[in-house]
């Protein structure tokens, strides 16, 4: 049960990262590898502030801002200096590796002895369950796990709601249109370049915020924690699309969150059944490859069947 609860919680935390990837990849069709760096950047920023006694909420918001700045860098490299999308992201991601080491002061920063959001979550859990542990459907669960799930779930709900409202404003719709048809939205007076910079700013802000929450939940920030996160996000976005299957914003947002949680549950089960943790990234990459190629192959097969 603990395994299930923590899979849910981590899935929800990473759904914020997936929402970021949704913005860059689905809205702009921009494969933004900056995410690998900015998830760590968010964790590092939050961890560095927390160990200096800053309030967890302030530290998490600071992480969002830090990620936003990283996103702006990638956006400016791409739009102003005309550097290829992937390369812009690689440059910023690489630079962030050094920056993260500076921010943390070491390659790993433990957070077990400081007050984090998880501390508050644990208090909340205690209040609800009444003890340090309780039983849920006959299974023993800890107050920390219950509290974390509730806190993270509420944060995700609020952010998803804000994202949905934003994408239905004049600005947010112009952003969606920029990804959908550049020529059209330019002819309607919108600078696609500015939209890309703003979009990547918000996307990486979310990714860094997810990093900050993840560090607080697992109790440490590590300079390596971002590796492969973009692929993780892509997997969630793709699963989400398969689950929901429409292009409307609300559905896509819900799908992405569901995709992230579902993917985490699948991984947790696979690990439980003996998947070697070292193979995790390989499996994720193969999964995304399959998800990208399968629809095309299916279509070809279908066309072939129809033709013969």
């Amino acid at each position: 049960m603990t395994l299930l609860l923590s899979a849910w919680t981590i899935g929800l935390i990473l759904s914020l990262l997936s929402l970021g990837i949704y913005i860059s990849y689905r809205v702009f069709r921009f494969a933004d590898i900056t995410a690998d760096g900015s998830v760590t950047f968010g964790a590092a920023t939050a961890a560095a502030l927390l160990t200096r006694g800053v309030h967890p909420v302030t530290a998490s918001i600071a992480a969002f801002v830090a990620g936003g700045l990283a996103g702006i860098c990638t956006g400016v490299l791409h739009t102003r200096f005309k550097i290829n999308q992937l390369l812009s992201g690689i440059l910023v991601m690489t630079a962030l590796y050094s920056i993260n080491l500076h921010v943390m002061g070491s390659s790993n920063l433990p957070l077990l002895s400081v007050t984090t959001i998880t501390t508050y979550a644990q208090d909340l859990g205690r209040k609800i369950t009444g003890h340090d542990s309780a039983t849920l459907l006959g299974w023993p669960v800890s107050a920390r796990d219950v509290g974390s799930l509730i806190v993270v779930g509420s944060i995700v709900l609020i952010i998803a709601l804000i994202a949905w409202l934003f994408f239905n404003t004049n600005l947010g719709s112009a952003m969606r249109a920029s990804g959908d048809n550049e020529q059209m939205i330019r002819a309607l007076g919108v600078s696609v370049e500015n939209m890309i910079v703003l979009g990547l700013c918000i996307a990486n802000g979310l990714v860094a915020f997810a990093g900050a929450l993840l560090a607080q939940y697992q109790g440490f920030a590590d300079v390596q924690m971002g590796i492969g996160m973009i692929v993780w996000g892509l997997a969630s976005v793709i699963i989400g699309r398969a689950l929901i299957g429409t292009d409307s914003v609300g559905a896509a947002l819900i799908g992405t969150i569901m995709g992230s949680v579902l993917f985490r549950l699948i991984i947790a089960l696979a690990l439980r059944w003996g998947l070697n943790p070292n193979d995790l990234k390989l499996v994720t990459a193969i999964f995304v490859f399959g998800a990208l190629v399968l629809p095309m192959t299916l279509q070809k097969v279908k066309r072939h069947a129809a033709g013969s």
């Binding site: 404003t169 719709s173 007076g189 600078s191």
Partner: protein, 270 residues
């Protein structure tokens, strides 16, 4: 309204693919006039339209719209004064967004886009009413993704979007060329209605001599990146499709003559 002075533009300069697309085009278009631009393939007519719209910066010359020099303005800034319809019906609309969303985006052409709602209840009725004037039964499909509509329907909506806020200048780039004849007719009629109703200053590129002869109050014929003939006033009223075709034949004969002269020179000297 539109003043174009000595526009020059060369693409791929200094390479074997160099194209001198505009070679000193000058054009003055009065407020409220409906100008048809015709010319052979590669004559520079679409390039001229794109130069005015700001798709690229010209090498030389100036462009001013409504007394404002816009030569160095980026495309999205010029959009505050210009409405555009493209040749490709897919170019003018955002396919995954709904009909209502596309129209509402167009309703803010050139205005600031902030955190107000795109589709508040009060604007929805106005959108529906304006779409109903197209007589295409699209008012019942306001919340469908626009990508599910046909090319003709999308082009009609693009025209509506381009003129939602009255533009100083309307640019139509062969906007019926990719449609079936029936839809093309429908769009032509709609264009006439919209332009005359709002007295829009319009620049329309077309391949169809029939459209050129029947629409508009002035015809500009382009060839090799400059203005070859300009029919306005009484001359415009008397011009027929056959006259235009004859002028095209002249151009073709001249080019043939050029080619054969070049061949003669080559035979004699190379």
């Amino acid at each position: 309204m539109l003043q174009v002075r000595e526009l020059r533009k060369t693409f791929f300069e200094g390479t074997p693919n160099e194209v001198r697309a505009l070679r000193g085009v000058s054009l003055d278009i009065e407020d409220g006039s409906f100008v048809i631009v015709i010319g052979t393939n590669g004559s520079g007519k679409s390039t001229l339209l794109n130069a005015v719209a700001g798709s690229f910066y010209v090498d030389r010359g100036t462009i001013s719209i409504a007394e404002k020099d816009v030569t160095r303005w980026p495309e999205h800034r010029r959009a505050s004064m210009i409405g555009r319809v493209f040749q490709n019906p897919f170019s003018g609309t955002a396919p995954t967004m709904t009909v209502a969303e596309n129209l509402a985006l167009a309703a803010r052409r050139g205005l600031r886009r902030g955190l107000g709602r795109l589709l508040p209840a009060r604007i929805q009725n106005e959108l529906r009413d304006r779409v109903a004037t197209l007589n295409m039964q699209l008012e019942n499909r306001m919340h469908n993704p626009i990508g599910t509509l046909s090319g003709g329907q999308r082009q009609a909506l693009t025209l509506l979007m381009a003129t939602w806020r009255r533009p100083d200048l309307l640019l139509l780039d062969e906007h019926t060329a990719a449609l079936d004849p029936k839809s093309a007719d429908q769009i032509v009629r709609l264009t006439e209605d919209v332009v005359s109703q709002h007295k829009l200053t319009t620049l329309m590129v077309t391949h169809s001599m029939q459209q050129a002869a029947t629409l508009g109050d002035r015809i500009v014929m382009m060839n090799q990146g400059s203005v070859y003939a300009d029919y306005s006033g009484a001359r415009r009223r008397h011009v027929r499709a056959e006259d235009l075709v004859r002028r095209f034949d002249e151009i073709r004969r001249d080019e043939l003559l050029d080619a054969s002269a070049a061949e003669m020179l080559r035979d004699a000297y190379v």
